[in-house]
Subunit: 516 residues, 2 copies
C-alpha cells in the first residue's frame, strides 16, 4: 500500500493549472544552506553552557511527572528521588550519542521527502491556533473546513515543506475525537510531510495507527514519516501527557521535538546565557530519554523561545534576546550533533500590521543565520499564537521563499557571462535589453508577488490595497486553483474506517478527557 | 567658539523631563558590534570580485563627467580618453592605501561623537523624501517645520546617532536656498552628528562654511564634523555635481560617502556577484579620486542597493539579493580597509503596513550581519524613498535600538548569579519574584515600547490601536517633551548672518539652478 499512496500526481493537471493561474505550486526541495552560521559563542563559552547544563541536571535535577519514565530512568542507572531525576553527565552523553545527526522525513509523495540536519532545513507552518483571521480578515473560531483550507494552502505554497497538523483548532468537532480528523485532513489535502498530535498518549497512538495505514507499519520501522512535538514545562519539568506521547512516537521509531517552552524571565533566569543553559538542560534530559525508549530513534532538539513582557506577562516576539538565544541554541545542538527545531515567523500583533511584519522578519532572519533545521511556525503565527492569519500565512510563506534564496547564497554560475555584459553596456548604458539580462533576470532576482512596488499613482489606481487585502486575494486565487493530491483509494477507505471505529469508541461528549 | 558650542545641556532639565515622560532620550554610544560577520565569500571569491572590478576599471573604464576630475586623473598618471578614465589596478591600490580604516565623527555635543570603522557602527535617519506621512498619517509635501520635527525626533531617539540633513525636502522654501535652512535646522534642533548637502559644489561650500562657523575651520582640518553623500550613476559614471561637491568636502578633510546607485538588473547585470563587482569598481574609482583630491582624507565606501521590479521598474526592498549583496560589499570594504555605508530600513510599501515591516526588518538584520558601519536610511524610509513616515520613523528607531542590543551580543556578566537562581527556583517554580530577576529583568530583555504584547481583550479595551496609531502618539509625546539643545549664542548669530547674506546673494526665483 505504501508505494501506491506515494504516486505522483503533480506533473500533469496541477502543473497546467498552475501555468494558467500564473502561480507555481511546485515545492522547493529542502533548503541546503550555504549561508555562514552566526555563532555568538566561542568554544569555551559553548563548553561553559554545556557544563552549566550538566550541573543543573546532576544537582537540581529534572522532574518527570510520569511513573513509567521514572522507572525507565532508574533502570537506565540514573539517580531518582521522588519525581526528580538526577542524570549524571556521563549517562546523558552516553544516551545522546545514539541520536542520528540527520534523517530523511518521508512524505506521501516521495518527491516531497525532505532531509533534516547538517545544512538542510525545512519550513513548517504554525499550528495550535485557537482562532483564525479568515479570508475576510475576521477573527473567529476555526472549523474543520478552515483547517482544510490551511492544509490546501500549505500544499500549494512552494517554500512550505509540510502541512503540519492542527494549524487551527477545529472547534466544530469534539475535542476528544479531533486528532483523528486533523490527521486525516493533513493526509488528504496535501502530499507533503505532516505532523502528529501529542495531546495524549492514546491520541498519539491513533495518529501513528493512521500513519501505519498510509505508509505501512514496516516502512515506519525504518523511515520517519511524522513528527510529534513534546513541550517541556520550564523550568525543568516533563509531564505525563508529553512523556506518554513521546514513548508512543519513539517506540515506532518516529521523531519527536523535545521542546522546552521558554518564557524568558518568567520561567528562566533573567539572563540570556543562563536561560540558554537551563533550556539546554531541559532539552538534553528529554533527548536522552528518547534513547532510553528506543536507542537510535531520531529526535529533534526543540524549543519555543520568547521573552515575556513586563507589562502583560505575555510572550514577546522579534526581540533581540530571542535572536541571540537562537544563535546560542543552534551552537549547542551542533555541539551535540542533533537536528534542531525553532520557530520562524512569530508575531505578537493583534492584526497583520507593521508590528507583525517586523517581528516575523526579525525572527525568520535570525533562525536562518542560526542554522535551524526544523523551522516551525514559519507561516501564519500572530497574536502570540492565539490566531493564525490567512493573509499572514501566504505572506510568511513568500518570506520563507525569500529566506530560502538568501540561505542558498550567491549564484556564481553565470559570473563571467554577466561580467561580459558590463563590457558590452559600458559607462552610462543600461542592462534591461541586454541578452544576458533577458535570460537571467528572473532567476537572478527574487520578485515578491505580495509586496507592491508600483508607484503610488498606480497603487491608487488599483484601489489603494494594503498587503492584507492583496494577500487575501492571493489566498483566494490559490484556493480556486487547488487540486487535491488524491489519496490511494484503499488507503483512504482504511483511514475512514479507522476514524469511524475510533469515533464510536471515543465518547464525543466527554470533551475534556482526551485519554482514550 | 568650537568649545562653547559643544557645551552639554542634556544632564539637567532634559533628564528630568525624560523621567517625567517615562522616555529615555539619552543617546546610545556608537554600537560596538560583537556579532560575527556573515561572510558569504571565501578568500578566493573576494579576490575574484577584486580582480573583476580591476578588469572593469582598466578595460571598460569609468566616465568622469567633469573637466577638473579628468585633469586630476591625468595628472595622477591614469590613462584618460575623452571623459573615460582607465585607472590601472596599481594606481587604484596605491591611492586607496591612504584611506583611514576608521575615524571619529564629531558632534556639537562631544559626548555624542561616534566612531566609524572596525566593529563600530552608527544609525542615521533617512533623507531626501519629497513627501512625508505626517503626525496624522497624511501624505503631503513637507515644510521646514516638518523637517525641524524630524530633526527634533532624531535628537530624542536614543539609537539614532545623527540628525542627518534633508530628512524631508522643505518644499516651502526656494530650492536654490534650501541647503542653508536644512543645515541650520540640523545644527539647531539636535546636537548629534549631521550630514551636509551635496546638491551642488557651491551648496556644499556653503554647508562647509556653516560648519566652520559652528566647529571652527582649524578644528575641521583634523576632525570630521560632517559627511556628504555622492551618488554614482551606475553603470560607471560620476557626474560634475557629485565630483565638485566631493572636492569641496575632501579639500576641507571632510568625509564623503562614495555611493554607486544600484538598481540591480537595470543598471547592473542580472547577477548578484557581477553586480557586486561593478558596484565595487564604481566605489573604488571614487574612493581613489578622494585621495587624489586630498591624500589621507577620510571617505566611506557607499552604495544604494536595490533590485528592480520587472513589473514597474521601481526599486524593491527587503529582497534576498539585496541582503546577499550587502554581505558581499561588507567583505569587499573590509578587504580594502575602508569604513562602509549601507541603507538600513528600506521599504517600498505605500503605507506603514506589514509589507513595510517585513522589508525594513529584513534589511536591518542583513546590514547588521554584514557589518556595515554607516547605517543610513535607518528610520522613516518607505515608498521607495518617496516619503518619510513619522510613524515608521519612531518604530524604525526602536528597531535600531533592538538591533543595537542584538549587535552587542549576549551579556555573560551575571551568568553565575543567574545560574544560582535556577538552583533556588528548582523544577516547576517560577522566576518572576526572584531577587536576581527583579534586579536584572530590565537590562536582560529588551521591552519594545511600540510593539503591543497585551491580550486582545486588553488591546480592544484600549481602543484597538494598530502600530501606526501607537507610533504617532509616541511621536507626539516625544515632541511635547522636546527641549532644544540650545546653540551657543555667538555661533547662532553668526550662522543666521551667514544665511541672510547668502540668501541675498542667491536668487530665490531661480529655483532650478542651484549653482551659486
Amino acid at each position: 500500500m505504501a508505494d501506491g499512496n506515494r504516486r505522483v500526481r503533480s506533473g500533469g493537471r496541477a502543473a497546467r493549472r498552475a501555468l494558467r493561474t500564473g502561480t507555481d505550486i511546485a515545492m522547493l526541495p529542502g533548503l541546503r544552506r550555504a549561508l555562514p552560521l552566526c555563532e555568538v559563542m566561542d568554544g569555551a563559552q559553548v563548553e561553559r553552557i554545556d557544563a552549566a547544563s550538566m550541573d543543573i541536571l546532576e544537582n537540581v535535577g529534572v522532574q518527570f511527572r510520569d511513573a513509567v519514565a521514572l522507572a525507565d530512568w532508574a533502570a537506565a542507572g540514573a539517580k531518582v528521588e521522588g519525581e526528580i531525576v538526577y542524570p549524571d553527565r556521563g549517562l546523558i552523553r552516553e544516551l545522546i550519542a545514539s541520536l542520528p545527526e540527520s534523517f530523511t522525513y518521508h512524505a506521501r509523495d516521495p518527491k516531497k521527502n525532505v532531509a533534516l540536519g547538517d545544512n538542510q532545513s525545512i519550513f513548517v507552518p504554525m499550528t495550535g491556533a485557537p482562532y483564525l483571521r479568515d479570508l475576510d480578515d475576521r477573527r473567529r473560531a476555526p472549523t474543520l473546513d478552515d483547517l482544510a483550507m490551511f492544509h490546501k494552502l500549505s500544499h500549494m505554497l512552494p517554500a512550505l515543506h509540510s502541512s503540519a497538523h492542527h494549524i487551527v483548532e477545529p472547534m466544530d468537532h469534539p475535542i476528544s475525537q479531533r486528532h483523528l480528523r486533523i490527521t486525516y485532513s493533513s493526509m488528504k489535502h496535501s502530499d507533503k510531510t505532516f505532523m502528529g498530535m501529542t495531546t495524549s498518549p492514546k491520541n498519539a497512538e491513533d495518529v501513528l495507527d493512521m500513519c501505519a495505514i498510509l505508509f505501512g507499519a514496516d516502512f515506519m520501522e525504518s523511515h520517519p514519516v511524522i513528527t510529534g512535538n513534546c513541550n517541556g514545562n520550564s523550568p525543568l519539568v516533563w509531564d505525563e501527557t508529553m512523556l506518554g506521547s513521546m514513548r508512543a512516537f519513539c517506540r515506532r521509531n518516529q521523531p519527536v521535538l523535545c521542546s522546552p517552552f521558554v518564557l524568558g524571565g518568567a520561567n528562566t533566569p533573567a539572563s540570556v546565557p543562563a536561560a540558554a543553559a537551563q533550556l539546554n538542560a531541559e532539552a538534553l534530559s528529554a533527548l536522552a530519554y528518547t534513547q532510553i525508549i528506543r536507542k537510535g530513534c531520531p529526535a529533534i532538539y526543540g524549543h519555543y523561545l520568547s521573552t515575556v513582557s513586563m507589562r502583560s506577562g505575555a510572550p514577546m516576539a522579534g526581540t533581540p534576546e530571542i535572536s541571540l538565544m537562537n544563535f546560542m541554541i543552534g551552537q549547542m545542538a551542533r555541539f551535540y550533533g542533533v537536528p534542531w527545531r525553532t520557530s520562524g515567523a512569530l508575531g505578537g500583533a493583534k492584526t497583520f500590521d507593521a508590528q507583525a511584519g517586523y517581528e516575523s522578519a526579525a525572527t525568520l532572519s535570525a533562525v536562518l543565520h542560526a542554522g535551524a533545521h526544523y523551522i516551525w511556525h514559519a507561516a501564519g503565527w500572530n497574536e502570540a499564537g492565539m490566531h493564525c492569519s490567512v493573509a499572514k500565512f501566504v505572506v510568511d510563506a513568500e518570506q520563507c521563499a525569500m529566506a530560502y534564496r538568501m540561505g542558498a547564497g550567491p549564484d556564481w554560475s553565470d559570473f563571467d557571462a554577466a561580467l561580459a555584459a558590463v563590457v558590452d553596456v559600458g559607462p552610462g548604458g543600461h542592462f534591461l535589453g541586454h541578452p544576458h539580462t533577458l535570460e537571467h533576470f528572473e532567476s537572478a532576482f527574487f520578485m515578491p508577488e505580495l509586496f507592491d512596488n508600483n508607484s503610488i499613482e498606480q497603487w491608487q489606481a488599483e484601489g489603494s490595497v494594503e498587503i492584507t487585502g492583496r494577500a487575501l486575494a492571493h489566498a483566494r486565487a490559490l484556493l480556486a486553483a487547488y487540486e487535491e493530491p488524491v489519496l490511494d483509494l484503499g488507503a483512504d477507505e482504511a483511514l475512514r474506517d479507522f476514524i469511524a471505529r475510533r469515533e464510536r469508541e471515543i465518547p464525543a461528549a466527554d470533551a475534556l478527557n482526551t485519554e482514550y
